[in-house]
C-alpha cells in the first residue's frame, strides 16, 4: 500500500474507470442525461443568475448522487470479490483510507458530467455572473460529493442488500436535502444538509457565509457519520473475514 501517492490515486481512478466502462449504460446514460439537463438549463436562461446556478447544482447532484452510489455499493464488496481484502484489511486505517480514495476516484471520473451544467450555466449567464463564484460552487459540489460517497460506502458496508437501500437514500437526498419537491422538504430540514448552502452561494452577498456553512456542515456530517459507522463497519469486516472459516 503506497498510501496517498499521486501514482496510487491515478491507479485507482483508472481502475474505477475500467469498472464503470463495463456498464455501458454508464457512458450512454451519463451523456444523454447531461445533454438533456443542459437543454433544460438553456430554457431557464431567462431567470436570474442564482436560480440558473441553483438548477446547475441540482442537475449536477441528480447525476452525481446516482453514479457515485454505484461505487459506494461495490467498493466494500469488491475487496471480498477480488480477494484483495486480505492485503487491504491488515491495517484498519489503511482500509479506511482505501475506501476514501475509492470514493475520490469515483467522483473524479464522474467530474466531467458534474461540471457540464456549471459550464453551461456560466456560458448562458455571461457577464451577469462571476466565473470565480461558479468555480467555487462546482468545487464545493465535488467536495460534498466525495464526502457523500465516502459516508455512503461506509454506511452501505453495514447492510446486507445495498441495492435495495441505495435508491431510497438517493431519493431522500434529491427530495428532502435538495428540496426539489418543495412540499416534502421543510426549510429547517433542508438547511441541515450542505446541498442548499452550495446553491445559496450564488445569491449576491451570501458567498462566504454559504461557502463556510457548506464546508462546516459537510465536515460535521462526515465526522459524525464516521464516528457512528466506523466501528460497526469494522465489526462487519471482521465478521465477514471469519465467516464460514470452519467449512473452508
Amino acid at each position: 500500500m503506497v498510501g496517498w501517492s499521486v501514482r496510487y490515486l491515478r491507479l485507482l481512478i483508472w481502475l474505477q474507470w475500467v469498472d464503470r466502462r463495463a456498464t455501458s449504460s454508464f457512458i450512454v446514460g451519463i451523456t444523454i442525461q447531461t445533454a438533456v439537463l443542459s437543454l433544460g438549463l438553456v430554457q431557464l436562461r431567462t431567470l436570474d443568475a442564482p436560480a440558473v446556478l441553483q438548477a446547475a447544482v441540482r442537475a449536477s447532484f441528480l447525476v452525481g448522487t446516482a453514479l457515485c452510489a454505484l461505487s459506494a455499493m461495490s467498493a466494500f464488496q469488491n475487496e471480498f470479490r477480488y480477494q484483495t481484502v486480505w492485503q487491504t484489511a491488515r491495517d484498519q486505517r489503511v482500509f479506511a483510507r482505501l475506501m476514501l480514495a475509492r470514493a475520490f476516484a469515483m467522483v473524479i471520473i464522474t467530474a466531467p458530467a458534474l461540471l457540464v451544467p456549471f459550464i453551461v450555466a456560466t456560458v448562458l449567464l455571461g457577464a451577469t455572473v462571476s466565473v470565480g463564484v461558479v468555480a467555487a460552487m462546482a468545487f464545493l459540489s465535488v467536495v460534498v460529493l466525495v464526502a457523500f460517497t465516502h459516508l455512503l460506502t461506509t454506511g452501505l458496508a453495514l447492510t446486507y442488500d445495498p441495492a435495495r437501500l441505495v435508491p431510497w437514500i438517493r431519493q431522500v437526498v434529491m427530495v428532502v436535502a435538495l428540496g426539489t419537491v418543495a412540499f416534502l422538504s421543510p426549510e429547517p430540514v433542508r438547511n441541515v444538509f450542505p446541498f442548499v448552502w452550495i446553491e445559496r452561494m450564488a445569491v449576491p452577498g451570501e458567498l462566504w457565509r454559504s461557502a463556510g456553512l457548506t464546508i462546516g456542515i459537510t465536515g460535521a456530517w462526515w465526522l459524525v457519520g464516521q464516528a457512528l459507522l466506523r466501528r460497526p463497519a469494522r465489526e462487519i469486516l471482521t465478521r465477514r473475514l471469519t465467516d464460514n472459516v470452519e467449512s473452508r
Binding site: 430554457q43 431567462t46 431519493q171 418543495a182 426549510e187
Partner: protein, 213 residues
C-alpha cells in the same frame, strides 16, 4: 373454455407470483409504487422549484404524456427481466398468447401507480378533461408497453445488463422527444405562463401559497 381461461390466468400470473415472492410485499411497494412516484416528483420539481418557488401540481400534472410514455415503455422492457433471470424465456417459444398475457399483467401492475398519480392530479386540477386523459393514458401505456417489450425482445437479451441499460436510458432518450415529452416537459416554462420577474426568497416556501404546494 373456463378451464383454458383458468390455465391462462395461472400461467400469466406465474412471473408475477415469482416477483412477489422474490421481493416480498415491501419490496414491491417500494420498487413499483414509492420509488417511481418519488422519481417522477424529483424530475418534475428539479427545475420547477427554483429560487423558493412552490411545487405546482397542476403544471406537473400537465406533463403526464412524458411520464406515462416512459412508464409504459419501461414497464414493457422490464416485464422481461424476471423471465431473463429465471430462464423462462424458452417457455414462451411458439406460445405468443402466454407471453402476451404475462406481459400485460406485469405492465398493468407496474404502470398503475404512476398512472394513478397523474390521473389523480388531473381529476383535482382539470376535472373537465380527465375522462379523455384516462383513455389516452390507457392507450399510450398499451402502445408504449408493446413497443418496449418488442425493443427488449429484439435488443436486450444479449447480456444480463441489457434490460437494465434500456430501463436506465429510456427516461433520458424520451426527454429528447418532441413536444410535451421534451425537457420542457418536466419543468415546462414554455408550457405554462412564462416566469415573470420573481423575488428571490428562501423563507418558508415549502408550505406554498395559493394554488402552489
Amino acid at each position: 373454455m373456463v378451464r383454458s381461461l383458468r390455465l391462462l390466468t395461472r400461467i400469466g400470473t406465474v412471473p408475477l407470483v415469482a416477483l412477489a415472492r422474490k421481493q416480498r410485499v415491501r419490496g414491491l411497494l417500494s420498487g413499483l409504487v414509492a420509488l417511481p412516484v418519488l422519481n417522477a416528483l424529483v424530475l418534475g420539481g428539479l427545475y420547477q422549484t427554483l429560487g423558493g418557488a412552490g411545487f405546482d401540481l397542476a403544471r406537473f400534472g400537465a406533463y403526464w404524456p412524458y411520464f406515462i410514455a416512459v412508464t409504459g415503455f419501461v414497464a414493457g422492457v422490464a416485464s422481461w427481466e424476471l423471465e431473463l433471470l429465471s430462464g423462462l424465456l424458452p417457455a414462451y417459444a411458439g406460445r405468443p398468447l402466454r407471453a402476451l398475457w404475462s406481459r400485460g399483467a406485469y405492465v398493468l401492475l407496474s404502470s398503475a401507480p404512476l398512472a394513478g398519480l397523474f390521473l389523480g392530479i388531473r381529476v383535482a386540477t382539470s376535472p373537465e378533461t380527465y375522462v379523455r386523459d384516462a383513455a389516452l393514458m390507457l392507450v399510450a401505456t398499451g402502445c408504449l408497453a408493446v413497443f418496449g417489450s418488442g425493443v427488449a425482445l429484439t435488443w436486450g437479451f444479449h447480456s444480463d445488463k441489457g434490460i437494465n441499460n434500456l430501463v436506465q436510458v429510456a427516461p433520458w432518450v424520451f426527454a429528447l422527444g418532441p413536444a410535451r415529452s421534451s425537457p420542457r416537459g418536466w419543468w415546462g416554462w414554455r408550457g405554462s405562463s412564462p416566469p415573470g420577474p420573481r423575488t428571490w426568497r428562501w423563507g418558508r416556501s415549502w408550505c406554498g401559497t395559493g394554488s402552489t404546494w
